[in-house]
Structure formats: C-alpha cells, structure tokens
C-alpha cells in the first residue's frame, strides 16, 4: 500500500529518478489512470513508484532534424499532432480520430506507443512510415529503436528501467508516397476505440511501383505489417495490380490474428485493401483516401 510520486521539472531530473528508483512513467495519464482507478474516494493503485513527466519541456513539440526527418516529442498530445500541418496526413488522421476531445488534449504520442495496445491509434501510421522510437538514459544516452522492434508483445515494449521515451522520428512524409489510405472503423463515429484500422501507402516511378506498404491495427496482439507481402507489388506495373490483389490479400490475411470478430476483421481488411488498390490501379485514387 502506498507508492511515491515524483514530479521532475527537467529531463535530467527525470532520468535520475528513473535510474535510482523502480518507476512507472505517467505522461498524459489517459490510459494509466483509468487502469489504476479503484473507486471514488479511494486512492488509485499503482504497483510501483510513479514518475509524472508531463511537464518536461524537452519532450514537447514537433520539429525537423538536420536530415529533414520529423521529430515529435514524446509528450506531444494527440490534439497537437492532429492540428500540425508538418505532420504526415496519415498520422494526423490517427491522432484526430483518437477518443474524445478531452482525451486528445491529454494523451501523448509516447504514451500511445509505450502502452503497446493493439488498439492504439497512432502506432499504425508509425509502423507504416518506419518510425523510430528514441529513448534516453543517464548512463547510455540516446538510442533509437525501430517501432516494430520497440513493441515486443501485448503491453510490453523494449524500454529499460532507467530510460524514458523522448521522441518519435518519422523518416517519411506526405511527399514520399503518391497515395495514402487510412480508415479507422470505430464502434461509432466519434469517441471510439478502434475495431479495425487499415493504413496503406504506395509510390510509383512512372508506372512502376517502387514502394507499397500496409499496416493494420486492432487485428492481433501487435500492429501487422510484412515487407514480404508488400514485395508482391513492388517492382510491378500499375496495370498488373488487379491480377495481384488476391495474392496480396491472401498473404496479408495470414498475418492477422484477431481474437474477436475474426471474420469481420479479415473480410473488412480485404475489402479495404482491394478498394484502395483498385482505385490506384485505375487512377481514380486521391492523394489521401479514406
């Protein structure tokens, strides 16, 4: 019974606390506080000391690094991401469709990847765009981990006890693909947890597909993406797409391991991929598709 709470003012202070104590990090609190709630008038329950990082200035804001990649501070809220025109469209969509207004004002991009929920909104676009998660510790400084390696399994990420997620780096943006697709199926049209979300992007050089990507969330314990499936289309011509859709769908479906509503989730994934690729193949796709 009873844990300590720390409220550091700088990243350095926070990293010292992480080094010296076994702690759990609280950023926006929109997920952790729900889990820790027991009853009105009863103290929330944490099994470890809590370090509340939401005030650290170093972890806020969105900027370009020297390589021209977008760096999003771990404490950037969903609302800030959704309303920043520098952020790729597909990530803005995900952030803007997360929960309700109050939640979007509180939830952070760092927290949304750290809780490693398969239903998280922002991880889908992060997987699609090969995002890297930057973590920092006092002893070893910064290290970068590709997002798909960062998330190990359900509710588990590759972070050490003394580390803090400081930012998410996006090596790709809107200009790097010709067409994007994002569709979140919520259980209603606002304030909903994802029932299934599909993210996709495709790039051409002339008529030749030079890149194709597809990622699904809420359809297994982790976000689904496979370069092998994507390679079915890479190097092919636009007019060849219709003849390859079935193969893409068949191989992609094999990745999906939904626990509930398996038929619905697999069928809808297949339909959305087919719809997007058909539009791309017959040149009716917009730059951004839903």
């Amino acid at each position: 019974m009873g844990v300590n709470s720390y409220l550091p003012k700088t990243l350095k202070e926070a990293l010292e606390i992480r080094k010296d104590h076994d702690t759990i990090i609280l950023a926006g609190g929109s997920d952790l506080m729900v889990g820790a709630f027991r009853a009105t008038g009863v103290t929330p329950e944490f099994d470890k000391d809590v370090v509340i990082i939401r005030n650290l200035p170093e972890l806020k804001g969105i900027k370009k690094n020297e390589k021209g990649e977008l760096e999003i501070g771990a404490l950037t809220t969903s609302r800030e991401i959704a309303s920043n025109p520098d952020v790729p469209w597909i990530l803005r969509q995900a952030a803007g469709k997360m929960g309700a207004v109050g939640l979007r004002n509180s939830a952070t991009i760092g927290g949304n990847i750290a809780n490693a929920s398969p239903k998280g909104d922002t991880p889908g676009p992060e997987y699609l765009l090969d995002a890297r998660v930057v973590v920092e510790s006092l002893d070893r400084g910064e290290r970068e981990i590709p997002v798909n390696e960062f998330v190990l399994k359900l509710k588990t990420v590759a972070i050490e006890k003394d580390e803090i997620i400081t930012k998410i780096v996006l090596p790709y943006g809107d200009d790097d693909f010709d067409n994007f697709f994002y569709h979140k199926i919520g259980r209603r049209y606002a304030n909903a947890i994802s029932k299934l979300t599909l993210c996709s992007a495709i790039k051409f050089d002339g008529d030749v597909i030079t890149d194709f990507r597809v990622a699904t969330t809420a359809c297994g314990v982790k976000t689904n993406r496979s370069r092998d499936v994507e390679k079915i289309l890479i190097g092919k011509k636009r007019y060849e797409i219709p003849s390859l859709i079935d193969e893409v769908n068949a191989q992609y479906e094999a990745l999906l391991t939904p626990r509930a509503m398996p038929e619905y989730r697999k069928y809808s994934t297949k339909c959305m991929i087919s719809d997007f690729l058909m539009k791309v193949s017959n040149n009716t796709a917009e730059k951004f598709n839903e």
Binding site: A39, T40, I185, R188, A190, A192, K195, L196, Y264, S268
Partner: protein, 747 residues
C-alpha cells in the same frame, strides 16, 4: 458541524431551481423560453447527490451476490473496526418485511438464502472511510451452493435448472383477441407466415449514476436521491421498518437523466439504506460507480415476438396472431405492466380484421428488467413494423404502400376492443415526410441491395396510465398556492430529470394565470410537502398533472383579485364514456395516443459494413407543444436513443453476466453518428390535456429503430429480425444472411 461550508443546505438547493431572471410575459405555451435549470447544468454549477455532504456522514458499498443462481451457504465478515457495519436482512427490525414494493413486492431488499441473479443485494457495508470500506469488502467471503441457471427466454421457458417461479417460470401472462377466431382463419387462409423478431437489452446510461443519501431528522427518515418517483420510493420501502408511510420522506435531488432507469430502481438503494439508517443513525451516502451501475442495474426487456399471419394471394392480411415473450429476469417487480403495454401496442398503428396476442413474462436468472422509455411498447412496435416490411417484400409491394393500407383510423377497434378516440394524423405525416425526404424517388431508385436504403415506420404510444388507471390507481393531485406577494407555488410530485418538466409545468401555470415565469415556483418535490401527483413516468407528467395545473390555474385566476393568499387543489377524474376493465383488459386502453412516423436513410460502406445515416425525418402528433424547444429536445434525444437501440447499443448477458460494463464498451451514438434531424409535427389536440398537449416523451423513441432497420435491410437486401446490429453483424448478414426470413406454413 466542523465543516459547515461543505454541508448541504436543502433550502438553498431547492431555491436554485427557480431562477429570477425571466420577467418576460409569455405570449403562449409553444414559444421556446430559457429553461429554469439550463444555466446551472450547462456550467456545472448544479449540485447532484454525489456532491452533497452532511455532518458525520458515512459511506456505503453495496455487497452483491456473485453467482448467477444458488443458495447462500455462509457469509464470513471480517472483524469490523469501530464505526463500521455490515447490514443484511438480519438487521430488518421485527415486523418489517424483506421486500421492496414496486408494482409486485417480490424483489427482496436483501437476498436471504436464495440467489436468483448475479448482483442481487446481500448487504451494505457502511463506515466513515471509503479506502477502508474498499479493503474490508475484499475480506467479506460468501460461500454459495451454485445451481444451474436459465438466462435466456428459451432457457427460462424450458425451466433449465428447474423452475423457480411458479411451476413454469412464467412470471405473468395475458391474452387479447379482437375480431374472429384466428385459429379458424388460419385453417382456410391461402397463406400463413411465421416470423420471429427479437430485440436485445438496452442500458439507460443516464449521465449521472444512481446515488442516494439517507439521514434522520425529527424522527423521520429522509432519503435524498437521484430519482423519478419520490412517492414510489416511499411506498416501496416503509414496510421494511414497519413504520407509518409518512415517516419515510423522499426528497428528489437534481437528477442527471433517468429514462425509466430511476423509476423503480432507486428502491434498490433506498431499501438497504433505510435499514442501515435504522441501525446506525448517521447520514449514509451510497453512490454507484459507472461500471457498477451498468452491470448491476435494470435494463430494457429483451424480447422475442413470434407472429403468425394469414394472407390471401395478394398479400392482404386476414388475421394476425402473436406470442410476445419478455425476459423479465429474477423478479417480477414492474414487468407485468410492461408486458401489458407491449401487448396493447402489438398492432402498432394498424388495424387488421382479426387479431390475437398472448404475452408471457419469462423468469430467468438475469438482473431483472424494468422501465425504460417506451415501457414495453418499443419491442412490440419494432416487431410489428419489421414483420410488415417482411410481408411487403415477400409480396413485392413497396413497404409504405403496404403499411398504408392498414393504418388505423378514428373510431376503429383496437386489440382491447376499445376505439381510437382521436383523429389519427398518420396520412398527414406521410405527406410531410415523403415530400421532405424525397421518399418515393429514393425508395424506387435504391430498391433492395444497392447499399443505399430508405426506410419508414409508424408508431404510437398510449399516453399516461392504461385505461382508467389515472383515476382508479394513481388518483393524482396537484396544488397551486397564491402567496400574498403575488407569487405562485406549484405543489406537485413531478421530477425534473433533464426532460424539461419543471419549465413546462411552470409555463402552463404562468400562461394560464397571465403572470411572468419568474413569479411561479416549482421546487424539486419533497413527499412531506407536495401532494402525490403520481410518478414521473408513462408520458403522463404534462398530460395529466399538467392538465390539473391548468385547471387549478383557471380557478385561481378567477379568484386572483378577490383573495390575497389561497390554494387550489385538483384531482384527476377519468372522462365519462370510455370504460376500461383492468381485470379483463377490455375497453379504451388509452384516450390519447401520441402518433409518429419516421423515415431514415442510410448508406452502407461496402468494404467495412459501417452504416452512415444520411437523413432522419420524423413527424409526431403530440397534441400541442408546451415548449417547442423542449419538444424538439425530446424528439432529437428519443430518436438518437432509438437508433442506438437498433444499431450500436449491444449489451450481452452471457450466462447471467453482462459483458459490456463501461462507456467505452457500451456504445451509445454521438452527435457524429446521427445527422441533423428534420422535425415535423401533425398535432391533433387532446381534449383532456393542457392546451391540447398529450404524452410524447416515450413516443419519440418507439419507432425509429424499425425505420432504421427497414432502411438497412433494403440497403443490403437482407431481412433483419434481431437488434441491435453493430457493423460486424451487418457484415455477417451480408455474408451469411437471408433475404427472406418469413416461414410459410405448409398446407
């Protein structure tokens, strides 16, 4: 008394319901005005029961049975610190009865021996510190002998695990017939079709969860609660302590939504609190958490309705038979009346040459079902509307053309062999709505299976208590008092729960008396002060108490100049010439129905089976709008709630346990899910209502679910016979569904 600032001042609270800023004289009842309660509620200033504190107040946690069916073998309570109590049926004083008098008195205040459903109250753990209560609760050990449970209508009827109500698990039943004997017609009819329609549970999901505080003042027990019917609470609980009914005083605290969920359910809090107060003598507060309120509270009855309809070769209906099953749960409580209302509405807005219905309230080991906006009528109306659409499709007739032929008219005979008293405005509604929605073009163009659909439904709702119940059972009274300073007080038991009744009733008095709204006070009711004007339920508050206020105000106006301060009281009298026999359910079931028609247009995303609602058009006959904005609010809310019931509001009771327990699991529609509604009226004034107004709070819920399902069924060319239908179910219909679920009887 140390923390006076935080202590609750009841006088201050009731006063806050009567804002003083509206001096504008009113030109009529229809004009929209500012609601008395709007500003405080919108700004968050309004206090609710969870905000209230009393000196020395302690807290309670409800301890509930965790098995679905069984016997309580042993309850082990840890050593309780000083000031902590575990209250059970053993604490009911001598002469007190362990029951809650809802309509039936079978629901026990505390489970004793037998457990009929998961969540049945076992005891109340009370004490000053909520942290400590939380820890103590974990140490209470209850051992059970578990028994096999029946949790669905089918299992209940099959008496799975043995009957626990009567010898057949039938809590209640009734039968109604009009016209000729349907069995004879079935023998010779060219076609006989069977059609089974089912509806699911619905959770009220009022914004404010249930909560209540009990105190003792001047040797009387005072209950402060979030509730609809103060007099129901009093009647339900006084027998627990074997004290005079007046010794239980109920004071309504501003109520953040109810929808029927606070009609009888507050008794479940009030009963144990009263017994605890008897033992402890300090103010005790009990507030449900959201998850607790969803998992352990009453819901709308799930239903299964089986139609058997005889037609000729052209699809003309010769006779209709139906069996109505409602899943009542462990105790009867109010469900017989719910089942009756369901059966009275089983013909919807239609008249057939001959009809019969038999209703059964099925006992199951589920949390008991109870009142919810519509009170049994929505299930019946959804079923008849959906059945009519199935028949229309089978015979290749456009559904509106098919339904139109059977619309009931003034003077036609109802299923209870009474007559429809008023002029039925459905034909006018058809004109309004088909034009506004471009129905005929869209119906033709979309057809079946284009992933676009438009649907239509007709519905009604009998206003107030059935038959002569208002005068025979309720005997509602209201009182108006003129004060020497020229203000008027309304004494009436109706409760404001967000629907606007406080404004509506004050407005009726103000307009009738010709004085500004600011001169009319109407405080939240206190059962020791106001006369019993009957429950705030059954779409009766404007129609009946509102009428009594109008009549009292007319007399008051005549005496206004000659007397300084005086009171006028009125009691309801059933109009002559409209007989009703409650023993046989024969006669005029309702003198004033509200009528409605709704058109819904949808577009289904072929890829994801998501349903986008493109338009909602509705028209209602509410007699007259006492306040246009309030009535609009009711229409918008009722329609959103009705669409939710048919679409996303899935709550599954799996083997006696509700699966969806939070607001992120139980999906009510948001304003993003429902487009701006087009609202029309086709009013037919009601002779015995204030300014012609009749009931409308439930009406607006009753039919839109059927219109939505009609539209969706046409869009995907699948018959849908069961609601709700979230998108994964739509997908299932598309992949595996049938485009005709009528089963024709082989001759």
């Amino acid at each position: 008394m140390s923390d006076k600032k935080n202590n609750f001042e009841y006088e201050e609270f009731v006063e806050s319901f009567n804002p003083r800023d509206d001096e504008t004289p009113l030109c009529g009842v229809e004009t929209a005005i500012h609601r008395g309660d709007a500003y405080q509620k919108a700004t968050g200033a309004q206090k609710y029961v969870a905000d209230l504190k009393f000196p020395d107040m302690i807290y309670a946690r409800m301890i509930r049975a965790q098995v679905v069916r069984g016997k309580i073998k042993k309850i082990t309570v840890p050593a309780l610190p000083k000031g902590y109590y575990f209250i059970t049926e053993k604490d009911i004083p001598e002469g007190g009865k362990n029951c809650l008098n809802m309509i039936a008195s079978d629901w026990k205040c505390f489970a004793a021996g037998e457990v009929r459903f998961k969540g049945e109250t076992i005891g109340l753990l009370c004490g000053p510190n909520r942290e400590q209560l939380f820890e103590l609760e974990k140490q209470i050990k209850i051992e059970y002998i578990e028994e096999e449970a029946a949790t669905t209508i089918e299992e209940g009827l099959a008496c799975k695990g043995g009957a626990f109500v009567n010898d057949n698990n039938i809590h209640c039943q009734l039968k109604l017939e009009m016209g000729d004997n349907v069995d004879e017609i079935f023998k010779t009819a060219p076609h006989v079709f069977e059609d089974t329609i089912e509806t699911g549970y619905q959770e009220h999901l009022y914004l404010e969860t249930n909560g209540m505080i009990v105190t003792k003042e001047n040797n009387k027990y005072i209950l402060y609660g979030s509730l609809q019917c103060p007099f129901y609470v009093r009647k339900s609980t006084y027998t627990l302590l074997n004290i005079p009914i007046e010794d239980v005083v109920v004071r309504q605290i501003s109520t953040g939504g109810a929808f029927g969920g606070k009609e009888h359910f507050p008794d479940i809090l009030a009963g144990p609190l009263l017994v605890a107060e008897h033992k402890i003598g300090k103010p005790i507060k009990l507030i449900f958490q959201r998850e607790e309120d969803i998992e352990y509270s009453v819901k709308r009855h799930p239903s299964k309705i089986v139609f058997k309809t005889a037609t000729d070769d052209e699809g003309n209906i010769l006779a209709m038979d139906s069996i109505v099953y409602y899943n009542v749960g462990g105790y009867l409580a109010s469900s017989y009346v719910v089942l009756q209302r369901g059966c009275f509405h089983i013909m919807g807005c239609y008249k057939f040459p001959s009809a019969r219905t038999r209703g059964y309230g099925v006992a199951t080991n589920c949390y008991p079902s109870c009142a919810f906006r519509g009170f049994g009528a929505p299930q019946a109306i959804f079923a008849i509307e959906t059945h009519m659409s199935h028949l229309a499709k089978h015979f290749g007739i456009e559904p509106l053309q098919y339904k139109k032929k059977y619309l009931i008219k003034q003077g036609d005979t109802t299923i209870t062999n009474g007559k429809v008293v008023e002029e039925v405005q459905c034909p006018k509604m058809i004109e309004q709505l088909t034009e506004a929605s471009d129905y005929y073009r869209k119906a033709k163009e979309y057809g079946y299976g284009s992933y676009k659909g438009i649907g239509i439904a007709f519905y009604n709702h009998g206003g107030a208590f059935t038959g002569n119940g208002e005068s025979a059972i309720i005997k509602g009274r209201v009182r108006l008092t003129k004060n020497a300073n020229g203000t008027v007080d309304i004494f009436c038991g109706q409760t404001e729960m967000g629907q606007g009744i406080n404004t509506a009733l004050r407005k009726i008095a103000a307009v009738t008396l010709g004085i500004p709204m600011s001169k009319v006070n109407f405080n939240a009711p206190d059962t020791s002060i106001v006369p019993d004007s009957g429950p705030t339920a059954a779409s009766r508050s404007t129609m009946v108490p509102g009428y009594l206020i109008e009549k009292a105000a007319i007399e008051m106006k005549e005496r206004w100049n000659s007397e300084d301060s005086f009171s006028v009281e009125r009691q309801y009298q059933h109009p002559e010439g409209y007989p009703w026999d409650q023993a046989t359910f024969q006669g005029y079931a309702y003198l004033g129905y509200g009528w409605g028609c709704a058109i819904v247009e949808v577009e289904v995303d072929k890829r994801t089976s998501e349903v986008h609602i493109k338009g909602v058009w509705s028209s209602h006959d509410v007699g007259n709008c006492i306040d246009k904005r309030i009535v609009h609010g009711q229409v918008n809310g009722g329609i959103a709630q009705g669409i939710g019931w048919a679409s996303t509001e899935l709550i599954q009771n799996i083997n006696g346990k509700f699966k969806e327990k939070s607001m992120s699991d139980y999906i009510v529609p948001t304003s993003m899910d429902i487009p701006e509604q087009k609202v029309f009226f086709a009013n037919s004034p009601y002779e015995w209502g204030p300014y012609g107004a009749k009931g409308m709070g439930e009406l607006v819920f009753n039919g839109v679910g059927a219109a939505y399902i009609d539209a969706l069924s046409r869009a995907i060319n699948r018959d849908i016979s069961k609601i709700p239908v979230p998108s994964e179910y739509v997908c299932d219909h598309v992949l595996h569904g049938t485009n005709s679920c009528l089963i024709e009887e082989k001759k």
